[in-house]
């Protein structure tokens, strides 16, 4: 029989769970745990400079690797600082376990020093949470937390740990459960075969089909199967912001991102389609425009692991609840079977006209086929920065992004060919996500090129992490599309508020010299002001393999993100194509 303290049990359980990094920050309520880490833990601990960054780093580690992230924070302010990160992970369904310290059990409820009701505060933004009452329950509770976080529709799970149950003096028998079972939690593990057959038939009969790939394809490891299905049936593929990389971005069949800033051909094809195969999506309002006008001629096949996503906003004609990978696999199997008995069923010439139509749209206004911005201005266009990055990295980099125009330009102009390489806060839209996210990815993949595409607004929301990168020598490349404005908000003010820039350019003369700031932390800072320097300086930055480089690029502050769907009351195909031209 092995006797361990609560703190030691936590360390042991994390080891048993195969945790690779603990992203955290110490404090009073977690002192016992940190002491156990000091004495017994061989898992590297990454000390951030703000708890929000710990959560984002753990979150991005999970996004890039597919394995759950782990973060450890203290009670009270440590816990509340973590909330934005937890909410970010929740909105994007990211598997993660957050251990939070809590005041001693007998003090709970008495407004003790650094007491926050973490289970209560986090409740709306977690998949589940636990307040552990007894030391003996620690291993099983943490095991359950990982199980819940990683199965079904993934999400963050909070485990709140009162200080007294981690007391080094109180030792109990340590039993690590091999398995956990929960009578109240049984996520679907396969789709309904009859529904899948209906879906296959609908898809094969369709004259104007589109595959709509969402974040669930990435999370559910369905990219390869989805690609095969689309290839086999010659289907056009559109993607949500979160689905990018689920289908190769440079392939002819890829129509681009859809939604508010989606590609013209993508949104237009969706609007005119007769069958949409929506996989791992939730029809978020940024992807549908006005729901009542959404894709009026389309029958919708909706595959998702979470039944609450189905028919929540857009009614599904063929709902299929199940993991995207097993459902796609079964679709492929059924199609193969049909082809074996009657090859005629797989004749795809019926959609040739559809492809002709799509190619026409593409030639007229395609992101990659038509002129999308002024290439003769004397300023650097933000789109050019991303195109250059794409060119120099061959589409292989991990691109972590913040929130704003730069994020949309990155999503539009970097062609993601692989899943898990586009790391951004889609659901919550959290400024400050990108940089700590890049830390999590770089730790997981030290030999890969990890780039943070950000804005001068967003980067300042977690810029303190420059110090963390010094400590752990994380050679991330930060590329700031510096328009000296909260550009995305300013764009809306341009379009809807008569150009009244309420608090979106007021900081323009108060910005730091980012190159000097980077240097102050021991990093390299490079400033780019002329278009002719862009490629050489970016090349230089990317080639400094062992250094964090802050590439501060002055971009045209007047540039808007287009296409932009027209709201309110617009349909998918109603878009501004540039400042003066609309569909």
């Amino acid at each position: 029989m092995e006797l361990l303290s609560g703190g030691e049990m936590i360390v042991r359980t994390l080891q048993e769970e195969g945790v690779e990094f603990i992203f955290g920050y110490p404090g009073g309520a977690v002192l016992h745990i940190y002491d156990a880490i000091f004495q017994h833990c061989d898992i590297p601990h990454v000390l951030v400079r703000h708890e929000q960054a710990a959560i984002h780093a753990a979150d991005a580690y999970a996004r890039a690797t597919g394995r759950p992230g782990l973060a450890l924070v203290t009670s009270g302010p440590g816990a509340t600082n973590a909330i934005t990160g937890i909410a970010t992970a929740y909105m994007d369904s990211i598997p993660m376990v957050v251990l939070s310290g809590q005041v001693q059990s007998h003090l709970i409820g008495g407004d003790a020093f650094q007491e926050t009701d973490m289970v209560g505060v986090s409740r709306p933004v977690v998949k589940h949470s636990f307040l552990v009452k007894r030391t003996e329950d620690i291993p099983e509770t943490i095991k359950k937390a990982f199980y819940i976080a990683t199965t079904g529709r993934p999400g963050p799970v909070v485990v709140d740990l009162p200080k007294d149950i981690t007391d080094p003096a109180a030792k109990y028998e340590f039993k690590y459960p091999e398995k956990v079972k929960m009578r109240s939690y049984n996520p679907a593990h396969r789709g309904h075969s009859g529904q899948i057959r209906k879906a296959v038939n609908l898809l094969l009969e369709a004259k104007r089909p589109v595959v709509y790939c969402g974040g669930g394809v990435i999370l559910g490891d369905g990219a390869e199967l989805l690609t095969k299905l689309a290839k086999d049936l010659n289907l056009p593929v559109a993607s949500s912001l979160m689905g990018l990389g689920g289908y190769p971005g440079d392939d002819r069949q890829f129509l681009g991102m859809l939604g508010m800033h989606g590609a013209y051909e993508s949104n237009t094809a969706m609007h005119h389609s007769d069958v949409i195969l929506a996989v791992g999506v939730r029809f978020d309002d940024r992807t549908t425009n006005t729901v009542s006008k959404y894709c009026p001629t389309a029958k919708i096949i909706h595959v998702d692991i979470d039944p609450t996503s189905i028919s929540k906003t857009v009614t599904a004609d063929v709902p299929i609840v199940g993991p995207v990978s097993t459902v796609l696999k079964e679709m492929l199997d059924q199609i193969a079977e049909m082809g074996a008995t009657d090859a005629q069923t797989l004749d795809r010439s019926g959609i040739d006209n559809w492809w002709e139509q799509i190619d026409e749209w593409r030639d007229a206004h395609g992101l990659w086929t038509a002129a999308r911005y002024d290439t003769n201005s004397n300023q650097i266009k933000p789109q050019q920065v991303i195109e250059t990055l794409y060119k120099l990295t061959g589409g292989d980099a991990y691109v972590c992004s913040d929130v704003g125009q730069h994020q949309m330009f990155a999503a539009q102009y970097y062609r993601f060919n692989k899943p898990r390489h586009w790391i951004n806060s889609g659901g919550l839209g959290t400024m400050g996500f990108g940089f700590p996210a890049a830390m999590g990815v770089k730790l997981a993949f030290p030999d890969e090129q990890v780039v943070c595409v950000t804005g001068e607004g967003s980067i300042q929301m977690n810029i303190q992490e420059l110090s963390t990168c010094t400590q752990y020598q994380l050679p991330i490349k930060i590329i700031t599309l510096n328009n000296r404005a909260l550009g995305m908000v300013k764009q809306w003010q341009d379009m809807q508020y008569g150009g009244r820039y309420s608090q979106t350019i007021s900081y323009k003369d108060a910005l730091p010299d980012f190159t000097k700031l980077a240097e102050a932390y021991g990093h390299v800072g490079i400033r780019v002001e002329k278009l002719e320097d862009l490629e050489t300086k970016m090349k230089e930055a990317l080639s400094l393999k062992d250094r964090l480089v802050f590439l501060d690029v002055a971009v045209d502050p007047a540039e808007h993100v287009y296409p932009m769907q027209i709201a309110p009351n617009g349909s998918m195909r109603d878009m501004w194509l540039n400042k003066t031209e609309r569909t």
Binding site: R123, L131, S184, Y185, P307, T308
Partner: protein, 163 residues
């Protein structure tokens, strides 16, 4: 439409707040909510009544099912069921009113469970409609205090909501 949803919930701290939180967070309304432990100490049983169109009710049941602490649930209004609510009500009872209240209470098969010089306390059990009807019959002017338990429900026949 009014629905009665019966839920078996893990008897864990915080479980009830997740159910209530779900309703407030997503803007669903709760008409009434009753909760108590069951014969199995690890489970609580909830009955909640809510009003919504089919689409909303479908979302409510799906979201309830998604809560980790929810073990099972059933929409009782989808089948034959029994619903009961208990009400305690204090009414003014002086002079001729005393006999009038007594008669009315008898008609509704209620009981006068406490008597004061100028008040009666009445206990009444039945469907929510029946309790509403009694309140109407007694009239606002006589009513001093009302406390209702909220609906408890169970399905008719062989059907059982259990593990």
């Amino acid at each position: 439409m009014r629905r009665i949803i019966a839920v078996l919930l893990e008897n864990e701290p915080g479980a009830l707040s997740r159910v209530v939180g779900l309703f407030s967070q997503r803007g669903y309304n709760i008409e009434s909510l009753t909760v108590a432990p069951t014969e199995d100490a690890t489970l609580s049983r909830l009955t909640l009544t809510t009003i919504g169109d089919d689409r909303t009710i479908e979302q409510i049941t799906k979201h309830l099912n998604r809560l980790i602490d929810v073990v099972k649930l059933v929409d009782l209004t989808e089948g034959e069921h029994i619903e009961r609510e208990i009400m305690l009500i204090k009414v003014k009872a002086t002079g001729a009113q005393r006999a009038e209240i007594k008669r009315c209470t008898d008609i509704f098969r209620g009981q006068i469970v406490d008597v004061g010089p100028s008040v009666y306390t009445v206990q009444l059990t039945g469907t929510s409609d029946k309790l509403d009807a009694y309140l109407d019959a007694v009239g606002d002017a006589s009513i001093l205090e009302v406390v209702r338990s909220g609906v408890s429900g169970i399905s008719r026949g062989e059907k059982v909501l259990g593990l």
